[in-house]
């Protein structure tokens, strides 16, 4: 199902004409990332409310293959610099993902909160985890995507734009990733 969605997405992106509105051009993106920017696809991030400078960096990295994920590398390949700017501004304008309806398991939330505070995630990601500039919004991001991303920063299989997250994750044991991701995904 997901493969099909990506194939459809790729096909539609490559035929997009510049006369289309950004909403129309972004339809293939939202096929995986969620109609209103809140993803319901496994391991695929919500984009809504993302910081535009961060989104621009990621789209640039996909286009330049500095960040490797083939479907995104293909999607970004034909994009011009102005396209990258237009898509990142559009992403930022989508509504931010909502907190899950359930408050989350109290014990896991407490553990996760302790870890997030201990590691000062709020230094760069902001006190409400909404991010700032080149630092992404992580509040209510998909839990599976957060856990996957933290693990990839930890073993450096995902190269950050700069060294910051590799540096931070170097000091955080991999056993703590699940609780951190759970907390950030559920934070209110």
């Amino acid at each position: 199902m997901r493969k099909l969605a990506i194939t459809v997405a790729l096909a539609s992106l490559s035929f997009s004409a510049s006369a289309e509105t950004i909403q129309e051009r972004a339809a293939p993106c939202l096929a995986c990332h969620g109609e209103r920017g809140s993803s319901e696809t496994e391991n695929t991030p919500s984009l809504g409310g993302q910081q535009a400078p961060y989104a621009l960096i990621q789209l640039f990295m996909f286009r330049e293959k500095l960040r490797t994920f083939e479907p995104m590398n293909e999607m970004a390949k034909p994009l011009t610099d102005d396209d990258l700017r237009a898509f990142s501004d559009f992403i930022a304008s989508l509504p931010k993902p909502a907190a899950p309806k359930d408050a989350g398991d109290a014990a896991r939330m407490a553990r996760g909160e302790g870890l997030a505070k201990q590691n000062r995630c709020n230094t760069c990601h902001n006190t409400d985890y909404s991010g700032k500039d080149n630092v992404p919004r992580i509040a209510n991001q998909r839990e599976d995507y957060l856990a996957k991303t933290l693990a990839e920063y930890k073993d450096n299989s995902r190269h950050g734009y700069d060294a910051t997250m590799a540096d931070v994750m170097g000091a955080i044991p991999k056993e703590q990733i699940a609780d951190l991701a759970y907390y950030v995904a559920h934070v209110r």
């Binding site: 960096i57 450096n156 590799a166 931070v168 000091a171």
Partner: protein, 424 residues
């Protein structure tokens, strides 16, 4: 390792600073516990965390490393009109459109090579038949920050290896892939990118930063190595180096001078970045135990004494990120600049009021110590925000100076005297 709450850390900080610094430095220390209503004090940070030392307050929570925009600025969007140089000097755009332009090196035939840190490319600014153009001569590299040139060969330093392209200026249109000459280097991201240069001893100098903000490490980090130009015979040349991203040799006595960046989160005012001088191989410059020659680290410095390490010859300002530097050996600038050091300060992030983001000129006394430091190129910092960030400086053969700007992906040229129309 000793651990303590942030409140007791503040006390320790105040104690450690007492007597060592001016009253204003003490006054800047976090004095109060977290504001009422804040969550209970968090658990101590894990060892090696880059956040160690960060106080739990609102001002500190506003600070984060500043990343440049990924797309280079269009030539007409560069901040040229905002940049200021001393009377009699001129500044112009030399080349633009090079995402994340960082370290600079000059070829024998006038090509300027430009490394990058956040993208995978090395660029060449080519001067041919009076025309200047930019080419990508290598891509798919990993954080290729460092470039050096000698006898026709370009040396490129990635995060964990050094490679070369022979006769590069003859093959600019179709350069071969770089050949690796040295890869016995750690792979840490933190302070893993490298500045490189070739010394008067014809050796290649390669720094290996400390793998974190303020960390203990093994024998493979925190140093500057030197090696033969084929990568053989590597040895440690300087120790106690936290993160040097610039060095050059005094043309008068061939001593190496290098910049070194001080740790984050100690305070708004200290430690200052260092300008160091190596007088003999094997000297230890103190990090992470002693910073700026007179601060014993609050955490790792217990049982250590600054007297056991070589003190810097100059202090470059707190968190200012003093990076690329060159002695001025040209003849175009006035005599007062002869053999002075031009140093690019990339600019701070770990400071409420940003500092640096300029090129300064350091003049030396006859004995090689620092006589003065003054601003030379300013204007990159506007309303506490960067409109550009200088990384490296380099002299062209005519004695004019190039300055790279990784924020805008551009290189500027500074000349002295009546402006000449630059060749296009």
């Amino acid at each position: 390792m000793m651990r303590h709450s942030s409140a007791s850390r503040s006390l320790l900080l105040a104690g450690a600073f007492f007597g060592a610094f001016t009253l204003s430095a003490i006054a800047q220390q976090p004095a109060s516990p977290p504001a009422a209503g804040a969550a209970p004090t968090a658990a101590p940070l894990p060892p090696g965390s880059p956040m160690i030392g960060r106080p739990d307050n609102e001002a500190a929570a506003k600070l984060a490393p500043v990343a440049p925009p990924p797309l280079p600025s269009a030539p007409d969007k560069l901040p040229l009109a905002k940049l200021k140089v001393p009377a009699g000097f001129n500044i112009e755009v030399y080349a633009a459109g090079m995402a994340n332009a960082r370290s600079l090196a000059q070829g024998d035939k006038g090509t300027v090579f430009v490394g990058s840190r956040l993208v995978d490319k090395v660029y060449a600014i080519v001067n041919k038949d009076g025309k200047r153009s930019v080419k990508v001569i290598a891509s798919g590299l990993y954080r290729p920050n460092g470039v050096a040139f000698k006898d026709g060969t370009l040396y490129i330093a990635e995060l964990s290896q050094v490679s070369k392209i022979d006769k590069i200026e003859d093959v600019l249109d179709n350069p071969p892939k770089p050949t690796v000459i040295y890869d016995k280097l750690p792979k840490d991201e933190a302070h893993g990118w490298k500045f490189i240069a070739i010394g008067p001893d014809n050796k290649l100098y390669v720094p290996v930063g400390q793998p974190g903000n303020n960390v203990l490490h093994d024998d493979a980090h925190g140093q500057i190595r030197r090696m033969n130009l084929d990568g053989s015979g590597a040895e440690v040349y300087a120790l106690g180096v936290r993160n040097s991203v610039g060095f050059d040799w005094n043309p008068e006595n061939k001593q190496m001078y290098f910049t070194d960046n001080g740790r984050d989160w100690l305070s708004e005012t200290v430690p200052e970045d260092e300008l160091n001088r190596v007088t003999k191989a094997g000297e230890d410059f103190g990090a992470p135990f002693c910073y700026q020659g007179n601060i014993i680290d609050q955490e790792l410095g217990w049982g250590k004494n600054c007297k056991d390490y070589t003190a810097p010859v100059g202090l470059m300002g707190p968190h200012t990120a003093a990076l690329g530097m060159r002695f001025y050996t040209g003849s175009q600038f006035p005599k007062a600049y002869k053999n002075a050091i031009f140093i690019a300060r990339h600019g701070s992030w770990n400071k409420s009021q940003k500092q640096g983001g300029d090129v300064v000129v350091v003049k030396l006394n006859k004995d090689g110590t620092v006589k003065s430091m003054e601003p030379f190129l300013t204007g990159f910092l506007e309303d506490n925000k960067y409109v550009g960030r200088p990384v490296d400086v380099m002299l062209l053969k005519d004695g004019s100076m190039l300055v790279s700007d990784d924020w805008n992906g551009a290189v500027y040229r500074i000349t002295y005297g009546k402006p000449k129309v630059a060749a296009q």
